[in-house]
């Protein structure tokens, strides 16, 4: 069990509540839209077309995901190595190149399933398709996934004051880098209240 300062634990819990509330409201919106259009969600277990798209998250979300992986016995040397490789590859990478390069999510297993599905990032929780799932593949030019920018805007508004408690500006990092920073913070190698400058550096330090 990882023990963090009470104020950090409080912020982790508050940000998780915000993510859950926004994600649930968004799901209701998508379902209502699909019903109006006479369609339904086409997302199915084992389809991993969306797992090659960029996923960004705040440091608090990275910390939450690291804690979950650690507490569920999934934090292994192999996973850490995969996260490091992905962090190096996705650092400062334009989203289009990331998608077209089909860089898999480091949490995707060989069967096309998410190793951390229960604790999956907010960006993944609000990913829905109501059309042909083939269109979600990054090489496809089809309509693909349901637009999620409105949900991100709502989450940003909710997360910003929580991040400010720790002198952090609202800033999202690629999943791999964020989880590795989460480990560093959880293991005492970096202070959450004093890490803004570290976030701008190359991922060599993680």
């Amino acid at each position: 069990m990882i023990r963090l300062p009470v104020l950090v634990e409080r912020s982790i819990a508050d940000s998780e509540v915000a993510r859950t509330e926004v994600a649930e409201a968004f799901k209701a919106e998508v379902l209502s839209h699909a019903a109006e259009m006479g369609s339904h969600l086409s997302c199915r277990k084992g389809c991993s077309n969306c797992c090659y798209h960029p996923v960004l998250m705040t440091l608090l979300e990275g910390l939450t995901l690291y804690k979950w992986l650690h507490e569920n016995g999934l934090w292994t040397n192999a996973l850490k190595e995969t996260l490091k490789k992905t962090a190096r590859k996705t650092h400062n990478l334009p989203f289009e190149v990331w998608s077209l390069g089909l860089i898999p999510c480091p949490l995707l297993d060989d069967n096309g399933l998410c190793k951390a599905y229960e604790a999956r990032p907010f960006s993944c929780r609000i990913t829905y398709s109501t059309g042909d799932p083939k269109n979600c593949h990054p090489h496809s030019l089809g309509p693909g996934m349901f637009p999620k920018s409105a949900a991100f805007e709502k989450l940003t508004a909710a997360e910003t004051p929580i991040l400010r408690r720790h002198h952090l500006v609202h800033f999202r990092l690629p999943l791999a880098a964020s989880v590795l920073y989460g480990e560093l913070i959880a293991q005492g190698g970096l202070d959450l209240d004093d890490c803004q400058t570290a976030l701008w550096k190359a991922p060599d330090g993680i």
Binding site: R88, P94, H139
Partner: protein, 94 residues
């Protein structure tokens, strides 16, 4: 002062000393139409391009989009074949 060259993949300016710059030989230039004097890639894009998995995926993905825009009906199949060929070459080289 000379401005930074632009990365051929993402189009961002990239300092010469932090880029991968490829200059083709005369023989290589003879095999392609309108060759450039040099091919400049920024570090992040080069990391993807030089990887034996993501490099062929990126090149074939771009090819698939171009083929689709040109109205080629079997763009996906052609891009897949192109990717397989690039991947096997990349694996042989690595």
């Amino acid at each position: 002062m000379e401005s930074d060259p632009k990365c051929l993949v993402c189009g961002r300016g990239t300092p010469r000393n932090d880029s991968r710059i490829i200059v083709l030989t005369t023989e290589e230039k003879a095999t392609i139409a309108n060759p450039l004097d040099e091919y400049v890639y920024c570090k992040p894009c080069w990391n993807v391009l030089s990887d034996p998995n993501s490099g062929p995926a990126l090149i074939s993905g771009i090819a698939q989009h171009h083929l689709r825009r040109l109205g080629v009906l079997n763009a996906e199949e052609l891009a897949q074949r192109f990717r397989s060929a690039l991947t096997s070459r990349a694996i042989r080289r690595s």
